[in-house]
Amino acid sequence: MSMRRNFLDLARAAVVGTILCAAGQLGYAADEYAYDLVHSSVSFKARHLDISWIHGRFNEVDGKFSLDRENPSKSTFELTIKADSVDTANKARDEHLRQPDYFDTKQFPTIEFKSTSTKVIEGGYEVTGDFTMHGKTKKVTLVLKGGKEHLFKDVKRVAFSTELSLKRSDFGFDKNAIGPIGDEAIILIDCEGMRK
């Protein structure tokens, strides 16, 4: 009888322990955030005739990230930009940019970033990942500044900013079509995420 009671106590302890452990794990699980299109932007600038800068933005962007404060290397970041949504405040130029000589948006409808490793740096994260544009994928490292949390109307929000410089010719853009617009483009990403 006493042996049976001991066994039941042991089983109860195991169940309670498992539940507590699981709860503990849940407490440290990464927070999932969705890209807030209203309070975020992906813009770019490129040299014109090597004397000035042309600015533009992509109006349709989607993405998500998960932040693991306890184990930051497990944090992940993903961003998908619709190339067709390019907007330089000039309709004719936007149409031209959608053509196969530039973004070729019918063939390559999206520009994507998917992280492969993350590490904490002072004031943010250093995120390395695959950046795919114009059908070519290259490894890039983004320095994400920010990460401060804010509770707004019961929704937790986190924001990051980063700047990325790349050469269009590295992504298969035809050098002959680069013309008066410089080869180098600077992409500026300001991303605010809402916890799911």
Binding site: H96, Q99, P100, D101, D104, K106, Q107, N176
Partner: protein, 303 residues
């Protein structure tokens, strides 16, 4: 940026290479039969294209990444090989046309992979209907125009049919350029030059013959450029259809009043008839280009 001097150089060298190869074959082979001339024409076009694109420093990707890569690296070589095979073993003709129709059926599908136009292939069945219908319609149009033009060439021969085809290809290229797709338009310069040079050189060697190989290659090139311009560039369906069927205006010369006239007159009428819609298309494209470029260049419309 467009470079007219480079385009002219590429055209000149491509034409020279094609014509020289024809003359070498004419000098080396006796007698020069129609079969030999078809084989020489295919090789001359192939050589001219390699020279022309080499001079244009066209950067193409392998494996092909976009429509133009697929046209120049898969479809044009496949057509050259097909026409070479057909030229060497021309009998039975039904088999030759079966092979051509098979290629015509495959071309639209080869040009579109990975693009937004085939998104329906990965979705629900009802979404499949539109792309499938478009692909079938394109294949039927290509096969139909190809057969009709080859038939006319076999009926009455002459060099005006491939020249009309070359004229249409060049106007299509200029229109695509003016619509904003510079590389797509530039791709037509070597095509036109080799087609014209091969046709003229071959016509000097074999009088009043029908070199069907040049018709086939020209027709596939015209279709390919129009297809890319329509599905990846900004040219409209109406414009693409008009350009595709324009060479068929050569059939007007088969009216009894024209059919038995002197060959040069028949040829001139054909070229004139084809040139009229092409000039109209170019004028419209230029007007569109001016409208689009004015804000792009930052000029003030109302000062």
């Amino acid at each position: 940026m467009p470079d007219p001097v480079l385009y002219l150089q590429a055209m000149g060298f491509a034409a020279f290479a094609s014509a020289m190869l024809i003359f070498i074959v004419v000098g080396a082979v006796h007698p020069v039969t129609l079969k030999w001339m078809n084989v020489a024409s295919v090789l001359a076009i192939g050589l001219g294209l390699v020279v022309g694109y080499g001079l244009l420093a066209f950067r193409l990707n392998w494996p092909p990444a976009n429509g133009l890569d697929r046209l120049l690296l898969v479809i044009v070589p496949a057509t050259l090989v097909l026409e070479l095979i057909v030229s060497c073993w021309s009998e039975p003709r039904r088999i030759a046309w079966l092979m051509r129709f098979f290629l015509a059926a495959a071309i639209p599908r080869i040009l579109l992979p990975g693009s937004v136009h085939l998104d329906g292939f990965h979705g629900e069945a009802r979404l499949l209907l539109k792309p499938v219908a478009e692909l079938i319609a394109c294949s039927v149009l290509l096969a139909g125009t190809w057969r009709m033009l080859s038939w006319l060439s076999e009926r009455s021969g002459g060099c005006s049919i491939p020249l009309a085809l070359a004229l249409t290809i060049q106007c299509t290229g200029l229109t695509i350029m003016m619509a904003g797709y510079i590389k797509g338009g530039a791709a037509t310069f070597p095509l036109t030059a080799t087609l014209v040079a091969t046709t003229l050189a071959a016509s000097l060697a074999v009088k009043r013959s029908s070199i069907t190989a040049t018709i086939g290659i020209g027709m596939v090139e015209l279709f390919g450029i129009l297809f890319i311009g329509r599905f990846f560039g900004r040219i409209s369906t109406g414009f693409a259809l008009t350009m595709l069927v324009t060479p068929l205006l050569c059939w007007v010369s088969e009216f009894p009043t024209l059919r038995h006239r002197k060959p040069w007159l028949v040829g001139a009428v054909r070229l004139l008839l084809v040139a009229i819609p092409l000039i109209a298309a170019l004028v419209l494209a230029k007007l569109d280009f001016d409208r689009a470029m004015t804000p792009l260049l930052g000029q003030l419309i109302n000062v």
